[in-house]
Symmetry: C2
């Protein structure tokens, strides 16, 4: 897998976002990428007021554009996330397309981001969105890939479940902010990769100062030893990185964390 992270600027214009995404995908493919990860809410400002107006059903115009990109450019496409509507409910949804444009699955953000840090950031996704109901691991030509969205990464149980379901890389459209980003973005990406002995790719929108929600940027890739393999700054750009599959097997052999789990002692009573 040669993974391309598309750290794009998202604006309040769906068509402009779609054109930007396609242009950057094309560039990434020219640079050798065969798997593409877009950021969270790449076609829509990250704003409760926009999710409804921007939302589409599965099979809608954005869905078809994304499917066509995957097919046209012959890539595995984890299409960031977009606002999805189904029978009146809104979801934060990541669609996954294979190189023929077939939809391999979709992940609906399962942990809604409701945060209120005094004097800095307040955001309540639950004011508009409905939560998904579980992990998403899909079979691809690169093996099993887990997908979760932003705040989902905060929950170690969720990561563990994807790893035990066979994911060797977990790809995360995300948009941490200027409070949680510097404090927790790299730490969480490194720790989840280490604990589960998998790769992680996190893709953020580019940072736009003055926006309603200022994304941290710093899209990055971490490896099964807990190291940062590559990391961007806050500006718009593309990161392309070969994923060295097989290394996770080596790490698992030397430090058999998954084998050493004691599942019977972890049962929770809450």
């Amino acid at each position: 897998m040669k993974l391309g992270l598309i750290q794009m600027t998202v604006v309040d214009d769906k068509e402009a976002n779609l054109l930007k995404a396609e242009g950057m995908i094309q560039t990434a493919v020219l640079q050798g990428a065969n798997a593409i990860l877009l950021p969270e809410m790449f076609n829509c400002p990250y704003d409760n007021a926009c999710f409804g107006p921007y939302a589409e059903e599965t099979g809608g115009a954005t869905y078809n554009r994304m499917s066509n990109w995957a097919k046209t450019y012959g890539v595995l496409l984890i299409a960031g996330s977009v606002p999805e509507i189904e029978v009146g409910k809104l979801y934060n949804t990541a669609y996954i397309f294979d190189e023929n444009g077939a939809c391999l699955g979709k992940h609906r953000k399962t942990h809604l981001f409701d945060i209120d840090v005094k004097g800095s950031i307040r955001f309540m996704e639950s004011e508009t969105l409905t939560a998904g109901e579980g992990t998403t691991v899909v079979e691809t030509r690169f093996g099993k890939v887990g997908v979760c969205i932003c705040y989902d990464i905060r929950f170690p149980e969720f990561a563990r479940k994807m790893a035990l379901e066979g994911a060797r890389i977990i790809l995360v459209p995300a948009a941490f902010n200027m409070t949680t980003g510097p404090a927790h973005w790299e730490l969480t990406a490194r720790a989840r990769a280490l604990d589960n002995q998998v790769y992680y790719g996190l893709c953020s929108p580019a940072r736009v100062m003055g926006a309603g929600y200022v994304a941290y940027g710093h899209s990055l890739i971490t490896n099964p030893w807990g190291e940062v393999v590559a990391e961007m700054d806050e500006k718009e750009g593309i990161l392309i990185q070969k994923i060295n599959f097989g290394y996770e097997e080596e790490v698992r052999e030397q430090l058999p964390l998954l084998k050493h789990r004691r599942n019977s002692v972890y049962l929770l009573n809450d």
Copy 2:
């Protein structure tokens, strides 16, 4: 709580180790500590060949010395760990004593450290030790304290269980080595504290180059926002740090990770 971490040198002489521990506890108490954490295997070299010969039963001479220290110095004592023997089986055990010398509980290391990193470190605790069977959270005058030992910290499920059982600080006698220490010690201590919104204290033996097992040192304290509050270097010494209880409540209110758990979606089938 004013927590003292005793990063002591451990030698192949039980009496010398006990005298060293007591002297350092005394110094820490003079500096204001009212809770003391000793390192893993503080009375015994970390060596499979030593665990049997050094082991004692619960209620034995080392146990009574530790209980007396707690009472004499009026401290909560998480007495690192020592090799324990019971009906022919050996355990890596942490006893916990209150300020009256009463034993509040004991934790037996539940994840045995069996590692074989090519060209660097090989250690197989399972060659001599038997694993414990669960988490340990005790009620103390400072509130609920979780205790686990070294490799136990690798397992996010185990930490989560202690947090859900009410632990506000998790104290970890430990002995990472010169491979896993630089790579994973601080990362894991920060991530577990962040994910579970609790404090962590990790206490290592001092580093002795040329020893059979070279400990990393770097005893440290991390907080519920995932920050390192204080960290030692590799040399013998004492770290004393006031624990700002109440801060974990503040963090939990602003970023309600524990409240946002979706327990029904985490069920594992392995």
